[in-house]
Protein backbone atom coordinates (compact mmCIF):
# COMPACT_ATOMS: atom_id res chain seq x y z
CA UNK A 1 0.00 0.00 0.00
CA UNK A 2 2.84 2.34 0.88
CA UNK A 3 4.72 1.45 -2.31
CA UNK A 4 1.73 1.85 -4.64
CA UNK A 5 0.75 5.02 -2.75
CA UNK A 6 4.23 6.45 -3.34
CA UNK A 7 3.99 5.71 -7.06
CA UNK A 8 0.55 7.33 -7.31
CA UNK A 9 1.81 10.30 -5.34
CA UNK A 10 4.55 10.75 -7.91
CA UNK A 11 1.95 10.67 -10.68
CA UNK A 12 -0.22 13.27 -8.93
CA UNK A 13 2.82 15.55 -8.71
CA UNK A 14 3.68 15.20 -12.40
CA UNK A 15 0.02 15.57 -13.38
CA UNK A 16 -0.30 18.78 -11.37
CA UNK A 17 2.89 20.30 -12.78
CA UNK A 18 1.88 19.33 -16.32
CA UNK A 19 -1.58 20.79 -16.04
CA UNK A 20 -0.50 24.03 -14.39
CA UNK A 21 0.94 24.86 -17.83
CA UNK A 22 -2.61 25.89 -18.67
CA UNK A 23 -1.67 29.24 -17.12
CA UNK A 24 1.16 29.61 -19.65
CA UNK A 25 -1.44 29.76 -22.39
CA UNK A 26 -2.96 27.42 -24.97
CA UNK A 27 0.23 26.99 -26.97
CA UNK A 28 2.25 25.73 -24.00
CA UNK A 29 -0.21 23.12 -22.73
CA UNK A 30 -1.34 22.01 -26.18
CA UNK A 31 2.20 21.42 -27.37
CA UNK A 32 2.96 19.62 -24.07
CA UNK A 33 -0.05 17.34 -24.68
CA UNK A 34 0.96 16.79 -28.31
CA UNK A 35 4.49 15.90 -27.23
CA UNK A 36 3.18 13.33 -24.74
CA UNK A 37 0.82 11.83 -27.28
CA UNK A 38 3.49 11.64 -29.98
CA UNK A 39 5.20 8.80 -28.11
CA UNK A 40 2.49 6.16 -27.68
CA UNK A 41 4.92 3.85 -25.85
CA UNK A 42 5.27 6.37 -23.02
CA UNK A 43 1.57 7.30 -22.87
CA UNK A 44 0.32 3.73 -22.92
CA UNK A 45 3.12 2.51 -20.68
CA UNK A 46 2.19 5.14 -18.13
CA UNK A 47 -1.54 4.41 -18.48
CA UNK A 48 -1.15 0.66 -18.02
CA UNK A 49 1.34 1.18 -15.20
CA UNK A 50 -1.04 3.55 -13.44
CA UNK A 51 -3.98 1.21 -13.91
CA UNK A 52 -1.99 -1.66 -12.40
CA UNK A 53 -0.81 0.55 -9.53
CA UNK A 54 -4.32 1.80 -8.75
CA UNK A 55 -5.57 -1.79 -8.96
CA UNK A 56 -2.92 -3.00 -6.50
CA UNK A 57 -3.55 -0.03 -4.21
CA UNK A 58 -7.26 -0.90 -4.07
CA UNK A 59 -6.65 -4.63 -3.77
CA UNK A 60 -4.28 -4.27 -0.82
CA UNK A 61 -6.77 -1.89 0.80
CA UNK A 62 -9.57 -4.43 0.46
CA UNK A 63 -7.32 -7.10 2.01
CA UNK A 64 -6.49 -4.74 4.86
CA UNK A 65 -10.15 -3.86 5.43
CA UNK A 66 -11.08 -7.54 5.60
CA UNK A 67 -8.33 -8.31 8.14
CA UNK A 68 -9.35 -5.31 10.22
CA UNK A 69 -13.07 -6.04 10.10
CA UNK A 70 -12.35 -9.55 11.39
CA UNK A 71 -10.10 -8.19 14.13
CA UNK A 72 -12.95 -6.23 15.74
CA UNK A 73 -16.35 -7.72 14.93
CA UNK A 74 -18.09 -6.10 17.93
CA UNK A 75 -18.08 -2.31 17.94
CA UNK A 76 -17.86 -0.22 21.09
CA UNK A 77 -21.04 1.40 22.41
CA UNK A 78 -18.96 4.51 22.82
CA UNK A 79 -15.63 5.27 21.19
CA UNK A 80 -13.55 8.36 21.76
CA UNK A 81 -10.95 9.46 19.20
CA UNK A 82 -8.16 11.33 20.87
CA UNK A 83 -5.13 11.41 18.62
CA UNK A 84 -6.11 10.42 15.10
CA UNK A 85 -6.73 13.03 12.42
CA UNK A 86 -9.97 13.25 10.43
CA UNK A 87 -7.83 12.59 7.34
CA UNK A 88 -6.61 9.28 8.76
CA UNK A 89 -10.05 8.11 9.85
CA UNK A 90 -11.70 8.88 6.52
CA UNK A 91 -9.21 7.07 4.24
CA UNK A 92 -11.86 4.43 3.44
CA UNK A 93 -14.26 7.20 2.37
CA UNK A 94 -11.86 9.48 0.54
CA UNK A 95 -10.35 6.52 -1.36
CA UNK A 96 -13.48 5.19 -3.13
CA UNK A 97 -14.71 8.74 -3.80
CA UNK A 98 -11.43 9.57 -5.52
CA UNK A 99 -11.65 6.31 -7.51
CA UNK A 100 -15.15 7.22 -8.71
CA UNK A 101 -13.94 10.70 -9.56
CA UNK A 102 -11.01 9.31 -11.59
CA UNK A 103 -13.47 7.37 -13.79
CA UNK A 104 -15.52 10.53 -14.41
CA UNK A 105 -12.37 12.61 -14.86
CA UNK A 106 -11.11 10.21 -17.56
CA UNK A 107 -14.46 10.28 -19.40
CA UNK A 108 -14.48 14.05 -19.09
CA UNK A 109 -10.99 15.11 -20.13
CA UNK A 110 -9.25 12.03 -21.60
CA UNK A 111 -11.92 10.08 -23.49
CA UNK A 112 -14.13 13.14 -23.85
CA UNK A 113 -17.46 11.34 -23.87
CA UNK A 114 -18.64 13.26 -20.79
CA UNK A 115 -17.47 16.59 -22.21
CA UNK A 116 -19.83 18.95 -24.09
CA UNK A 117 -17.32 20.05 -26.74
CA UNK A 118 -14.29 17.78 -26.58
CA UNK A 119 -11.37 18.32 -28.89
CA UNK A 120 -8.66 15.72 -29.46
CA UNK A 121 -5.89 18.30 -29.82
CA UNK A 122 -7.07 21.42 -27.98
CA UNK A 123 -6.46 20.48 -24.37
CA UNK A 124 -6.60 24.11 -23.34
CA UNK A 125 -10.18 24.60 -24.52
CA UNK A 126 -11.20 21.26 -23.05
CA UNK A 127 -10.11 22.52 -19.64
CA UNK A 128 -11.62 26.00 -19.99
CA UNK A 129 -15.01 24.89 -21.36
CA UNK A 130 -15.13 21.80 -19.19
CA UNK A 131 -14.74 23.79 -16.01
CA UNK A 132 -17.09 26.58 -17.04
CA UNK A 133 -19.91 24.22 -16.04
CA UNK A 134 -20.26 25.11 -12.36
CA UNK A 135 -21.21 21.67 -11.06
CA UNK A 136 -18.29 20.05 -12.85
CA UNK A 137 -15.97 22.46 -11.09
CA UNK A 138 -17.75 21.88 -7.78
CA UNK A 139 -17.36 18.08 -8.08
CA UNK A 140 -13.74 18.58 -9.07
CA UNK A 141 -13.05 20.80 -6.04
CA UNK A 142 -14.65 18.29 -3.65
CA UNK A 143 -12.67 15.42 -5.16
CA UNK A 144 -9.43 17.41 -4.92
CA UNK A 145 -10.19 18.28 -1.28
CA UNK A 146 -10.58 14.57 -0.54
CA UNK A 147 -7.47 13.69 -2.54
CA UNK A 148 -5.44 16.15 -0.50
CA UNK A 149 -6.71 14.85 2.86
CA UNK A 150 -5.96 11.35 1.54
CA UNK A 151 -2.42 12.46 0.72
CA UNK A 152 -2.06 14.19 4.06
CA UNK A 153 -2.38 10.91 5.92
CA UNK A 154 -0.89 8.84 3.12
CA UNK A 155 2.42 10.67 2.84
CA UNK A 156 3.29 10.50 6.53
CA UNK A 157 1.87 6.98 6.85
CA UNK A 158 4.05 5.73 4.02
CA UNK A 159 7.25 6.53 5.90
CA UNK A 160 5.99 4.87 9.07
CA UNK A 161 4.90 1.72 7.20
CA UNK A 162 8.27 1.39 5.52
CA UNK A 163 9.95 1.67 8.90
CA UNK A 164 11.12 5.27 8.89
CA UNK A 165 10.51 7.18 12.09
CA UNK A 166 13.00 9.69 13.39
CA UNK A 167 12.66 12.07 16.37
CA UNK A 168 13.73 15.04 14.26
CA UNK A 169 12.60 14.07 10.76
CA UNK A 170 9.14 12.64 11.49
CA UNK A 171 7.64 15.92 12.75
CA UNK A 172 9.12 17.53 9.63
CA UNK A 173 7.56 14.87 7.42
CA UNK A 174 4.19 15.53 9.06
CA UNK A 175 4.54 19.27 8.44
CA UNK A 176 5.62 18.53 4.88
CA UNK A 177 2.61 16.21 4.37
CA UNK A 178 0.24 18.93 5.62
CA UNK A 179 1.91 21.59 3.49
CA UNK A 180 1.79 19.31 0.43
CA UNK A 181 -1.91 18.67 1.04
CA UNK A 182 -2.68 22.39 1.08
CA UNK A 183 -0.28 23.22 -1.77
CA UNK A 184 -1.64 20.53 -4.09
CA UNK A 185 -5.20 21.52 -3.31
CA UNK A 186 -4.39 25.13 -4.13
CA UNK A 187 -2.72 24.03 -7.36
CA UNK A 188 -5.56 21.80 -8.51
CA UNK A 189 -8.28 24.20 -7.35
CA UNK A 190 -6.70 27.13 -9.20
CA UNK A 191 -7.61 25.66 -12.61
CA UNK A 192 -11.41 25.30 -12.31
CA UNK A 193 -11.59 28.55 -10.34
CA UNK A 194 -9.64 30.36 -13.05
CA UNK A 195 -11.92 28.91 -15.73
CA UNK A 196 -15.08 29.80 -13.79
CA UNK A 197 -14.04 33.37 -13.01
CA UNK A 198 -12.93 34.00 -16.57
CA UNK A 199 -9.28 34.41 -15.63
CA UNK A 200 -8.58 31.73 -18.23
CA UNK A 201 -10.26 33.07 -21.39
CA UNK A 202 -11.34 30.76 -24.23
CA UNK A 203 -8.84 30.25 -27.01
CA UNK A 204 -10.58 32.43 -29.59
CA UNK A 205 -10.85 35.40 -27.24
CA UNK A 206 -7.10 35.36 -26.84
CA UNK A 207 -6.47 35.69 -30.57
Amino acid sequence: MAATGAALYLFVTIHLLGNLQVFLGPEAINSYAAKLKSVPEIVWGARLGLLATVGLHILTTIQLMRINAKARPTAYTKKANSASTVASRTMYLSGPTIAAFIVYHLLHLTVGSAHPQYSETDVYSNIVFGFRVWWVSAAYLIAMGLLCTHLRHGVQSMFQSLGFNHPLQTPRIKKFANAVGILYFTGFASMPLAALTGFLPPFFERL
Binding site: L64, I67, N68, K70, A71, R72, P73, T74, A75, Y76, T77, K78, K79, A80, N81, S82, A83, S84, T85, S88, R89, M91, H153, Q156, S157, F159, Q160, S161, L162, G163, F164, N165, P167, T170
Partner: protein
Protein backbone atom coordinates in the same frame (compact mmCIF):
# COMPACT_ATOMS: atom_id res chain seq x y z
CA UNK B 1 -20.41 12.56 44.15
CA UNK B 2 -22.94 10.36 42.39
CA UNK B 3 -22.39 8.65 39.06
CA UNK B 4 -24.39 6.56 36.64
CA UNK B 5 -22.53 3.57 35.28
CA UNK B 6 -23.41 1.56 32.20
CA UNK B 7 -21.40 -1.65 32.51
CA UNK B 8 -20.95 -4.50 30.05
CA UNK B 9 -22.20 -7.65 31.79
CA UNK B 10 -21.42 -11.02 30.28
CA UNK B 11 -21.67 -14.23 32.33
CA UNK B 12 -18.98 -16.14 30.42
CA UNK B 13 -17.16 -16.33 27.10
CA UNK B 14 -20.04 -18.10 25.35
CA UNK B 15 -22.94 -16.06 26.80
CA UNK B 16 -24.23 -12.94 25.06
CA UNK B 17 -23.52 -9.71 26.94
CA UNK B 18 -25.37 -6.44 27.42
CA UNK B 19 -24.97 -3.02 29.02
CA UNK B 20 -26.49 -2.77 32.53
CA UNK B 21 -27.12 0.47 34.39
CA UNK B 22 -25.84 0.96 37.96
CA UNK B 23 -25.89 3.93 40.32
CA UNK B 24 -22.67 4.69 42.19
CA UNK B 25 -23.67 6.82 45.22
CA UNK B 26 -21.50 8.87 47.57
CA UNK B 27 -18.29 8.30 45.62
CA UNK B 28 -15.29 9.99 47.22
CA UNK B 29 -13.09 11.93 44.82
CA UNK B 30 -10.03 10.39 46.50
CA UNK B 31 -11.02 6.88 45.43
CA UNK B 32 -9.32 5.26 42.49
CA UNK B 33 -11.63 4.07 39.73
CA UNK B 34 -11.23 0.46 40.86
CA UNK B 35 -11.99 1.39 44.48
CA UNK B 36 -15.19 3.01 43.26
CA UNK B 37 -16.06 -0.28 41.52
CA UNK B 38 -15.17 -2.17 44.72
CA UNK B 39 -17.80 -0.11 46.55
CA UNK B 40 -20.38 -0.75 43.82
CA UNK B 41 -19.54 -4.46 44.01
CA UNK B 42 -19.92 -4.59 47.81
CA UNK B 43 -23.39 -3.16 47.43
CA UNK B 44 -24.18 -5.75 44.73
CA UNK B 45 -22.87 -8.57 46.91
CA UNK B 46 -24.99 -7.25 49.83
CA UNK B 47 -28.04 -7.42 47.57
CA UNK B 48 -27.11 -11.00 46.64
CA UNK B 49 -26.23 -10.07 43.07
CA UNK B 50 -23.22 -11.05 40.97
CA UNK B 51 -20.45 -8.42 41.35
CA UNK B 52 -18.90 -6.79 38.26
CA UNK B 53 -15.83 -8.79 37.25
CA UNK B 54 -12.72 -6.76 36.37
CA UNK B 55 -9.05 -7.71 36.33
CA UNK B 56 -6.63 -6.06 38.77
CA UNK B 57 -3.49 -6.90 40.70
CA UNK B 58 -0.87 -4.37 41.82
CA UNK B 59 -3.13 -1.30 41.74
CA UNK B 60 -0.06 0.88 41.35
CA UNK B 61 0.06 1.05 37.57
CA UNK B 62 2.92 -1.36 36.91
CA UNK B 63 1.47 -4.85 36.45
CA UNK B 64 -0.73 -4.39 33.38
CA UNK B 65 -3.64 -6.42 34.75
CA UNK B 66 -6.32 -3.78 34.85
CA UNK B 67 -7.88 -1.93 31.98
CA UNK B 68 -11.20 -1.39 30.25
CA UNK B 69 -12.88 1.36 28.29
CA UNK B 70 -14.41 4.36 30.04
CA UNK B 71 -16.58 6.32 27.60
CA UNK B 72 -14.68 4.86 24.69
CA UNK B 73 -11.22 5.75 25.99
CA UNK B 74 -8.87 2.95 27.03
CA UNK B 75 -7.98 3.39 30.72
CA UNK B 76 -10.25 6.43 30.82
CA UNK B 77 -9.65 10.06 29.93
CA UNK B 78 -6.42 10.69 31.87
CA UNK B 79 -3.23 10.51 29.77
CA UNK B 80 -0.49 8.06 30.75
CA UNK B 81 -2.55 6.51 33.54
CA UNK B 82 -3.84 3.01 34.13
CA UNK B 83 -7.37 2.63 35.47
CA UNK B 84 -6.13 1.67 38.94
CA UNK B 85 -4.24 4.98 39.11
CA UNK B 86 -7.12 7.01 37.73
CA UNK B 87 -8.85 8.92 40.51
CA UNK B 88 -12.46 9.92 40.76
CA UNK B 89 -11.56 13.62 41.06
CA UNK B 90 -11.18 13.63 37.27
CA UNK B 91 -14.91 12.97 36.91
CA UNK B 92 -17.84 15.30 37.50
CA UNK B 93 -20.78 14.73 39.80
CA UNK B 94 -23.71 13.23 37.90
CA UNK B 95 -21.58 12.03 35.00
CA UNK B 96 -22.67 8.99 32.98
CA UNK B 97 -19.89 6.49 32.32
CA UNK B 98 -19.89 3.61 29.85
CA UNK B 99 -17.59 0.76 30.90
CA UNK B 100 -16.77 -1.82 28.24
CA UNK B 101 -14.13 -4.53 27.92
CA UNK B 102 -11.33 -4.34 25.32
CA UNK B 103 -12.95 -5.41 22.07
CA UNK B 104 -10.89 -7.55 19.69
CA UNK B 105 -11.17 -11.02 18.19
CA UNK B 106 -7.75 -11.75 19.68
CA UNK B 107 -9.03 -10.74 23.16
CA UNK B 108 -12.17 -12.81 23.80
CA UNK B 109 -14.26 -11.58 26.73
CA UNK B 110 -14.09 -14.06 29.62
CA UNK B 111 -16.52 -12.29 31.94
CA UNK B 112 -17.88 -8.72 32.19
CA UNK B 113 -14.81 -6.48 31.81
CA UNK B 114 -12.23 -9.28 31.82
CA UNK B 115 -10.66 -10.37 28.54
CA UNK B 116 -8.20 -13.15 27.72
CA UNK B 117 -4.91 -11.54 26.70
CA UNK B 118 -3.17 -14.86 26.10
CA UNK B 119 -2.47 -13.70 22.53
CA UNK B 120 0.14 -11.29 23.94
CA UNK B 121 1.88 -14.14 25.77
CA UNK B 122 2.00 -16.17 22.58
CA UNK B 123 3.54 -13.23 20.69
CA UNK B 124 6.24 -12.95 23.38
CA UNK B 125 6.81 -16.72 23.27
CA UNK B 126 7.10 -16.62 19.46
CA UNK B 127 10.01 -14.19 19.89
CA UNK B 128 12.05 -17.04 21.36
CA UNK B 129 15.18 -16.88 23.45
CA UNK B 130 17.92 -14.28 23.91
CA UNK B 131 21.53 -15.46 23.93
CA UNK B 132 22.89 -14.18 27.23
CA UNK B 133 25.50 -15.66 29.54
CA UNK B 134 24.06 -17.37 32.55
CA UNK B 135 25.90 -17.95 35.77
CA UNK B 136 27.18 -15.21 38.06
CA UNK B 137 25.99 -11.65 37.53
CA UNK B 138 27.95 -9.90 34.76
CA UNK B 139 30.10 -6.88 35.61
CA UNK B 140 28.23 -3.61 35.43
CA UNK B 141 28.96 -1.73 32.19
CA UNK B 142 30.94 -4.70 30.81
CA UNK B 143 28.88 -4.30 27.63
CA UNK B 144 28.79 -0.65 26.58
CA UNK B 145 25.30 0.55 25.59
CA UNK B 146 24.93 3.96 23.90
CA UNK B 147 22.80 6.35 25.97
CA UNK B 148 20.16 6.83 23.23
CA UNK B 149 19.83 3.07 22.75
CA UNK B 150 19.49 2.50 26.49
CA UNK B 151 16.82 5.21 26.73
CA UNK B 152 14.80 3.85 23.80
CA UNK B 153 15.08 0.30 25.12
CA UNK B 154 13.90 1.51 28.53
CA UNK B 155 10.96 3.40 26.97
CA UNK B 156 9.98 0.21 25.13
CA UNK B 157 10.47 -1.94 28.21
CA UNK B 158 7.94 0.24 30.05
CA UNK B 159 5.21 -1.73 28.21
CA UNK B 160 3.12 -3.59 30.77
CA UNK B 161 1.13 -5.53 28.17
CA UNK B 162 -2.22 -4.16 29.34
CA UNK B 163 -3.77 -4.24 25.87
CA UNK B 164 -4.90 -0.60 25.74
CA UNK B 165 -3.17 -0.13 22.37
CA UNK B 166 -5.27 -2.91 20.84
CA UNK B 167 -8.43 -1.58 22.48
CA UNK B 168 -7.91 1.99 21.29
CA UNK B 169 -6.88 1.03 17.75
CA UNK B 170 -9.76 1.27 15.26
CA UNK B 171 -8.29 -1.83 13.59
CA UNK B 172 -7.64 -3.75 16.84
CA UNK B 173 -3.99 -4.01 15.81
CA UNK B 174 -1.31 -4.99 18.32
CA UNK B 175 1.46 -3.16 16.47
CA UNK B 176 2.45 -0.92 19.38
CA UNK B 177 2.73 -3.85 21.82
CA UNK B 178 4.76 -5.98 19.41
CA UNK B 179 6.81 -2.98 18.31
CA UNK B 180 7.67 -2.22 21.95
CA UNK B 181 8.70 -5.81 22.63
CA UNK B 182 10.81 -5.96 19.46
CA UNK B 183 12.44 -2.57 20.22
CA UNK B 184 13.08 -3.44 23.85
CA UNK B 185 15.53 -6.22 22.93
CA UNK B 186 16.44 -4.94 19.47
CA UNK B 187 17.98 -1.72 20.82
CA UNK B 188 20.39 -3.50 23.15
CA UNK B 189 23.65 -5.27 22.21
CA UNK B 190 22.45 -8.37 24.07
CA UNK B 191 19.45 -8.65 21.77
CA UNK B 192 21.32 -8.49 18.45
CA UNK B 193 22.00 -12.20 17.89
CA UNK B 194 18.35 -13.12 17.32
CA UNK B 195 17.07 -9.68 16.31
CA UNK B 196 16.00 -10.52 12.73
CA UNK B 197 14.49 -13.89 13.48
CA UNK B 198 12.66 -12.50 16.51
CA UNK B 199 11.05 -9.74 14.42
CA UNK B 200 10.04 -12.25 11.77
CA UNK B 201 8.43 -14.68 14.21
CA UNK B 202 6.71 -12.15 16.42
CA UNK B 203 5.14 -10.43 13.42
CA UNK B 204 4.08 -13.80 12.05
CA UNK B 205 2.42 -14.66 15.37
CA UNK B 206 0.77 -11.23 15.35
CA UNK B 207 -1.13 -12.12 12.18
CA UNK B 208 -1.93 -15.64 13.41
CA UNK B 209 -3.62 -14.17 16.49
CA UNK B 210 -6.06 -12.28 14.25
CA UNK B 211 -5.06 -8.83 15.35
CA UNK B 212 -5.80 -6.12 12.79
CA UNK B 213 -3.28 -4.34 10.63
CA UNK B 214 -1.74 -0.98 11.55
CA UNK B 215 -2.84 2.06 9.53
CA UNK B 216 -0.61 4.56 11.36
CA UNK B 217 -3.48 6.44 12.94
CA UNK B 218 -1.84 6.96 16.32
CA UNK B 219 -4.71 6.20 18.71
CA UNK B 220 -2.53 3.57 20.44
CA UNK B 221 0.21 5.94 21.51
CA UNK B 222 -2.41 8.33 22.95
CA UNK B 223 -4.06 5.51 24.92
CA UNK B 224 -0.86 3.85 26.17
CA UNK B 225 -0.60 4.29 29.96
CA UNK B 226 3.18 4.14 29.57
CA UNK B 227 3.13 6.66 26.67
CA UNK B 228 5.14 4.43 24.36
CA UNK B 229 5.54 6.24 21.00
CA UNK B 230 4.64 4.77 17.59
CA UNK B 231 8.30 5.10 16.68
CA UNK B 232 8.39 1.51 18.05
CA UNK B 233 6.01 0.41 15.27
CA UNK B 234 8.29 1.89 12.62
CA UNK B 235 11.22 -0.02 14.15
CA UNK B 236 9.18 -3.22 14.05
CA UNK B 237 8.34 -2.60 10.36
CA UNK B 238 11.98 -1.86 9.62
CA UNK B 239 13.29 -4.95 11.42
CA UNK B 240 10.61 -7.08 9.81
CA UNK B 241 11.33 -5.82 6.29
CA UNK B 242 15.06 -6.38 6.80
CA UNK B 243 14.48 -9.86 8.25
CA UNK B 244 12.10 -10.85 5.48
CA UNK B 245 14.82 -9.91 2.99
CA UNK B 246 17.56 -11.62 4.99
CA UNK B 247 15.61 -14.88 5.30
CA UNK B 248 14.01 -14.79 1.85
CA UNK B 249 13.38 -18.32 0.64
CA UNK B 250 14.04 -19.78 4.10
CA UNK B 251 10.36 -20.30 4.92
CA UNK B 252 8.09 -17.99 6.81
CA UNK B 253 9.71 -18.04 10.25
CA UNK B 254 13.25 -17.96 8.93
CA UNK B 255 13.82 -21.72 9.14
CA UNK B 256 16.35 -23.10 11.61
CA UNK B 257 14.08 -25.62 13.24
Amino acid sequence: MNLTLHVWRQANAAAPGRMVRYDARDVSEDMSFLEMLDVVNEKLIGEGKEPIAFEHDCREGICGSCGFMINGAAHGPQKGTTICQLHMRYFKDGEELYLEPWRATAFPVLKDLVVDRGAFDRIIAAGGFVSVRTGSAPDGNAIPVPKEAADTAMDAAACIGCGACVAACPNAAAALFTGAKISHLGMLPQGQAERSRRALRMVEQLTLEQFGSCTNIGECEAACPKQIPIEMIARMNRDHLKAAWQFRGAGKSGGGE
